[in-house]
Symmetry: C2
Subunit: 158 residues, 2 copies
DNA sequence: AAAGATTGACTAGTCAATCTTC
DNA sequence: GAAGATTGACTAGTCAATCTTT
């Protein structure tokens, strides 16, 4: 209706769609994964990053950077996961201030068990409702936004 | 590398992009809006929905359904907003179990003040990094996912 | 007894302060 | 004294129990 508000309309709609989709899909997928495997999504992410890392080990700080959590949150989650024997911790021998979290064989087993469940949930509850082309556009466009924001904020807070 | 995992790859990438973009953009935008206007994003959403509603009023339950928050969270937020004189509350005269939250003139003023700030933040920190075409695809594809999930879960939990 | 809202107890998460090692 | 990690106090949010009205 308004002739002027030309620039932003699609951008606002895209933003609102991201917020609503996130709010709708994340709880469904995370409940499903936890119900079927016993792993909370945050635990799954930690295992995934550790498995991908050199020797299955990562310092707490690096782990926090890869996962979407703060350092203090990582400390607590890793402690719980260590109680559950999915990871263990050891001082970094090169710099004893640092702590290395390492995935255990039990952790690897749990990760292998959970992965197909998670992928299936993502597929059914999210990806199946988009065309292949839409999936590609969503992936590339939103990744670009994220990387610009990450590099931008590094510059901003000089 | 794996020849078989054909089906899901773009879908998984799209999912990861949504998670990462949400995690990066929401805090930046919400901090900026709050710093410049004093309104938390949840308050802004409440004001927006009330303004859009008939007579600027809505029952707590309906408000909770439109905003992305649970009923109990809405109760608390509306209470804080009532203390700040941005909304007021009254019993629904037709059904005195219900409570109607209504935007005040002060609330309308704050909403008018905050809207351009919010739109500008969305534009700079999110939409500006996508083409118009990408914005449209993101909006339509993710909205479709959300609406399928909403209607689907209503059916599932019969 | 069932619907609407609020309250209480709990979980997840953040930020600032602390402790250890460099 | 600064970096790495953990701990304590706090905020935001959920779920179950309660209270009121229908």
């Amino acid at each position: 209706m308004k002739a002027e508000s030309s620039e932003g309309d699609q951008g606002i709609a895209a933003w609102a769609a991201v917020l609503r989709c996130h709010a709708a899909a994340v709880p469904l997928i995370s409940e499903e994964v936890q119900a079927k495997t016993g792993l909370p999504l945050s635990w799954y992410d930690v295992l995934l990053e550790l498995r991908a890392a050199e020797n299955g080990r990562l310092r707490m700080q690096d782990l926090g950077a890869r996962v979407v959590l703060s350092r203090s949150r990582v400390s607590r989650i890793v402690e719980e996961m260590a109680d559950a024997r999915l990871v263990d911790r050891q001082q970094d021998p090169d710099d004893r201030r640092g702590v290395l979290a390492r995935i255990t064989s039990r952790g690897e087993r749990q990760l292998r068990k959970a992965t197909p469940v998670y992928l299936d949930a993502i597929d059914r509850l999210f990806a199946a409702h988009m065309t292949r082309r839409e999936q590609t556009v969503v992936a590339t466009a939103l990744s670009r936004v994220t990387s610009r924001l990450d590099s931008g904020s590094a510059t901003e807070r000089h």
